[in-house]
Amino acid sequence: MDLLKRCLVIALIAAPAWAGPKSAVLIDRSGSMKPYYRDEVVRQLSDTLLEALRAQGEDVAVYAFSEQAQRAKALEDIEQLPFGGSTMLDKALDRAVQDGADVVWMITDNIQDPPGSTEAGDTEQFYKKLRSDAIEKVTIFPLRQPAGRPGLVIYELLKKGGDSDLYERELAGFHSRAAGILRTDALRMKPLDRDTVGISWVRANVNPRTSLITYDTGKPVREIIEVKFKSKFDHIEITDSSIDVVKREASFGKDSLVYPEKQNIDISPRTVERLGPGDETEQVYKIDVDLGKLKLRNDLVSLWNAAWVRSSEDATLQLSFVIQVPQKNFRLRPKFLQEFHAGTVQEAKDTGKVYALDKLPSLMSEAVTAVQVTTPVVFRVRYPSYPTFIWLAIFALAVLMIVGLIVGVKRGVGVVTRKSWDVEARTRAGVSLDGSVDKNGNVLVQRDNIGRVEHDDFVPAAGARIVQPPGAQVRLRDGLEVTVEVSRRLVVLRFKAKRSAAPPTTSSAAVPPRRR
């Protein structure tokens, strides 16, 4: 069991090392390719291509294919192989993908029929595969030849989930190396529906980077944006296609603190009459964006951030349109066709151009291709001021409550720990006087206020003076006698502690004291 586990681990570790190269070059070895081998066109072409690919630091697998694909070490090995009866592009592609290639290059004359046939081969199966989800990207290099033999075609294909960066690097590498050596140009044929048409801004208060005006929450937002569509195709033009608006949820995205009341977006006119490769439409389109009122999200985090973090945000809205392009309305631009396209096999042979290149757009597209056009637009939105005032009010309330709590606790503690005092008063001669401590701590003798009890201290009132014990005030204890001089007569006060927290009540307390 242990041995089995070890074997499994070793196999898993070693698996990547055993995996085949990520790039493969498939060279057509069918009978129709004979003249190209004879004149060393294939050698020159494959050398250029392999140099470009190996310059990317990747190992490259080389195959020869006709009815079936066969791995070869070098071009010399391929040249030793007998010519095949027909060209099976789709089967060759399958083989390379099965061997683990992400990026597949194919050099072919694009004729699938047996050699000698004057009719074009049925490459429909191959193109069906190229259209399918199994293949993510397709670029075609038509290769003009000297008069006397038809042009060749080089395909660069990326399988689904393959290394897209490697694909782009190899494409750029070959394109730059081939320029000046080969008469060719890159024709990106897949994807046709993504990253192929963009938006050019004519007049707008908002654009993908910033917003020229600041919008307030609580106020309706309606913008008319004038745009043109801009093609990113190099050689393909679009004609007579309708535009649809993609309905989206009314939202600026989950990171935004604001949201629109609605998201009504319309565009007019609704057709693209002509969009040349790399061009902008002549027509200016008006996009009507009606967002209703902008609202602040009513959660604590949003209220906090709107008050304390930022006063505004750049809220991004995604505008999405779909240009529905019927198959027949994808066209290669005339200049490209003039350079590389031959209408018949004979013409291809006579001119060195590639036969039926104009069919590529229809072969590579669906009945209707939905070209996605998506662009962000930034709305600078100012947050309302009410969250700030809410938080300030909350803080003020909290501070008041804390202060109230502290004062309350302090008083409570004072009441609990402080003794209540009662007092007996008499003259020096021993004549008893009416004495009491009222609920406010005033020490009353014969209704005269002669002092007060503050925090267990006796403090004489104005006009009164402590005679015994000497001092400005006296710390009280149970049974302490204090002699006070009031109006030139001496009064002896005897303080008695009461342990009850309740304020002292005496009959005299109800009588208002006479202030000295």
Partner: protein, 158 residues
């Protein structure tokens, strides 16, 4: 004699505080004028900072202004300056301080309008009330110096 000494002690302090905060207000006014008319990007506080932070700056500033104003008032009273004059002068200084903190907290493209209005009112209050404590000559001198500094700063930065 000690009372006379006290009067002499309070005046320089009042003049110093008045000069510093008058200059600060002029400086903030120049910045807001530059933002409004010269498209300046200089902002002492980032433009999109939360209103709460601005309010906090203003409220803390208001507290500091009150404390400083009260302290100055006590110095003036201790310096044998008459209570009504000391109170009015302290109030004028408090408003200078308040305007400084308000200018700092709410500086923007349109703040030059209210800053100018309040500053004009404060200048009038300085000439009518503060000058009784620090003297008309000192008051006018400081105001002229501050205004000249503001004009120079505006020319240099625009």
């Amino acid at each position: 004699m000690p009372a006379q000494q006290g009067v002499k002690d309070a005046k320089p302090l009042i003049i110093a505080v008045f000069t510093v905060f008058c200059l600060a207000n002029i400086f903030l006014l120049v910045i807001s004028l530059l933002i409004a008319f010269k498209n300046s990007k200089f902002q002492p506080i980032p433009e999109d900072v939360g209103l709460g932070i601005r309010m906090l700056i203003f409220l803390v500033g208001a507290g500091l202004s009150w404390a400083l104003g009260r302290w100055l008032y006590m110095r003036m009273v201790e310096g044998q300056i008459k209570v009504p004059e000391a109170a009015t002068a302290a109030l004028v200084l408090v408003f200078y301080l308040l305007l400084t903190f308000a200018g700092l907290a709410f500086l923007g493209g349109f703040s030059w309008i209210w800053q100018t209005v309040f500053l004009v009112v404060l200048v009038l209050m300085t000439l009518l009330a503060l000058s009784r404590v620090i003297g008309m000559r000192f008051a006018v001198f400081v105001l002229v110096i501050c205004l000249l500094a503001g004009v120079t700063l505006f020319i240099l930065l625009s």
